[in-house]
C-alpha cells in the first residue's frame, strides 16, 4: 500500500486542470482525478479529471454533492476517484493547504495510492521557454500519515501519457481556451453548464 507507484496522467485530464487554474488566476482552485490502478498494480492511470471549485474551497456541501455525482458517473465506467488537484491562490505558494490534505486523506480511505497534485506556477510560467515535457505539477503521495513530495530521484513519479502534452497545452493557452472550462462551481450556479466538459476537446 505504501509501495512506490508510477502515476501516469492522460493529456486531457492534465490540460483540464491547468486550464482551470488559468481561468481563475486570483483564487485557489481544486479538482479530482479519475482513473484506475494498472493491471499489475504498479501504476495508477489518471484517465480524466473534474475541475471542482474556485471559491470557498473549504466548505463541505458543494464538495459532497460533487463527489456523489462524480463517483456515480465514473463508477459506471469502471473508474474511480484516484486523487486530488489543488492550485494555491498565490503565485509562489507551494505549501500544501490543510484543505488539500483533508480531502486527500478522505480519498485515500477509498484509494490508498491516491495522488495529490499541486500546481507549480513557476514551472508553468517557464513552459514557453524550454522544451520541458514533464508536468507542471508536484506529486504528493501518502506515506503512513503524512503527505510526501515525490522527488525526481524516487520511484514515485508523475508522467504525462502523451509526450507532446505541454505543446498542446501552450497552444490552448495562447488561444485562451481556459474560457471554455466549466467547473462544478459553474454548474451549481447554472446547471445547464456541463462539469464533464464533454465538448471541451471535441
Amino acid at each position: 500500500m505504501t509501495g512506490d507507484s508510477r502515476y501516469e496522467i492522460h493529456q486531457d485530464a492534465y490540460i483540464k486542470l491547468v486550464l482551470h487554474s488559468l481561468k481563475h488566476r486570483s483564487s485557489a482552485v481544486n479538482g479530482v482525478l479519475i482513473g484506475r490502478s494498472s493491471a499489475d498494480g504498479a501504476a495508477v492511470e489518471i484517465v480524466d479529471s473534474v475541475p471542482l471549485f474556485h471559491s470557498q474551497i473549504g466548505l463541505l456541501p458543494p464538495l459532497e454533492i460533487a463527489l456523489i455525482m462524480i463517483e456515480e458517473y465514473y463508477g459506471e465506467k469502471g473508474l474511480s476517484v484516484v486523487g486530488y488537484f489543488h492550485a494555491n491562490e498565490r503565485y509562489d505558494d507551494l505549501e500544501l493547504a490543510g484543505v488539500a490534505k483533508n480531502i486527500g486523506d478522505h480519498i485515500t480511505r477509498y484509494f490508498p495510492e491516491a495522488a495529490l497534485l499541486l500546481l507549480d506556477n513557476k514551472k508553468l510560467g517557464d513552459l514557453p521557454k524550454g522544451k520541458d515535457r514533464s508536468p507542471v505539477l508536484q506529486l504528493y503521495t501518502k506515506d503512513a500519515s503524512t503527505w510526501k513530495l515525490a522527488g525526481s530521484k524516487g520511484s514515485n513519479q508523475l508522467t504525462i501519457k502523451e509526450p507532446s502534452a505541454n505543446t498542446v497545452l501552450l497552444d490552448y493557452i495562447s488561444s485562451e481556451k481556459w474560457n471554455d472550462i466549466v467547473d462544478f462551481d459553474d454548474h451549481l450556479d447554472d446547471i445547464s453548464k456541463d462539469w464533464l466538459n464533454t465538448e471541451l476537446f471535441a
Binding site: 466548505l59 456541501p61 456523489i68 454548474h187 445547464s192 456541463d194
Partner: protein, 302 residues
Amino acid sequence: MVSKTEEEQVNRLENQVDNGGGGAWEYLCLVRKLKLRRSDKVLKYGFSILNDSKKRSALGPEEWTLYEQVAIAAMDCQRLDLAKEYIKNLQRKFPGSKRVGRLEAMLLEAKGSWSEAEKAYSSLLEENQFDQVIHKRRVAMAKAQGNISGAIEWLNKYLETFMADHDAWRELAEIYVSLQMYKQAAFCYEELILSQPTIPLYHLAYADVLYTLGGLENLHAAKKYYAATIDLTGGKNTRALFGVCLCASAIGQLTKGRNKEDKDGSELPSLSAVALDKVYKKQSPTKISLLSSTLKNLKISL
C-alpha cells in the same frame, strides 16, 4: 457583489467588444461601477482607447478616470511599464494628489517592494487615517506576502473602525474558510446577516459553514438558513436546494435509532428534491439520472 443580471450584462458587453462590435467605453464604465476584476480585458480595451489620441480626447475629463482604471489593471497583469507611464501622466495632471500618491504606492506593491510600499501607505495614512482603500491595501499586501495571520489581524482592526464594510466582512470570512477556521467564518456571516438580512448569499454561505462545522445543532440551523435562502430566492438557488437535502440526510444519519421526536418530519427535503428534479429536467436533462442517484444516495424520496 453582482447580481446575475448585472453579470450577464457585463458578459454580453464583453462578448460584443471581443467580437469587434464596439462598446468598449460602456464596458469599462460598467466594470468600474460593479468593481469587477477583469484586468486583462480592461487593460486591452483601455489601452486601445488611451493610445488613440482622438478617442482619448473624446472622453474629456473622464480620460483621467480611465488612466487610473487602466493603470490598476496594468499592475494586475504585471504590465508595470504601462502602469508607470499612466501614473506619470496622472502625476503631471494632478501634482501632489493623494489619489495619485495611492497609485504610486500600489505600483511599489506591484513591484514587490513591500517595505517601500508600506512606508508610502503609512505616510498617506498619517494625512488621512480614514482612507479605507489604503487600509485594505495593507491587508492585501500581507496576504500577497503569505502573511495570512497578519492579513487577518489588519482586517479585524479595519473592521473595528469600518464595521459597515460588507466586502471586508466577506473577505475575512473567506480567509477563515480557506484556513478551515469555520467558527470564525460563521461569526463574520452572522454579522453580515444581521446588517443585511435580505441578501440570500449570506444565508447560503452561513448555512454552508454550519454544515461544515457539523453536529446536530448546526445541521438543524444550517437547514433553517438554506430554507431562508430558498425563500429569498424564490426556490431558484440550486445550492440551497441541495443543502436542504444534505442536511436532511446528515440529520437522519445522526438520529438513526432515536425517538421519533428527534427526527425531522418536515416536507422540506422532498419539496427541494422535487424542485431539483424539475430544474434538472429543464436545464440539464443529461444529468437527470445523476441527480436521481444523488437523491437516492441521500435517502431523499421525491
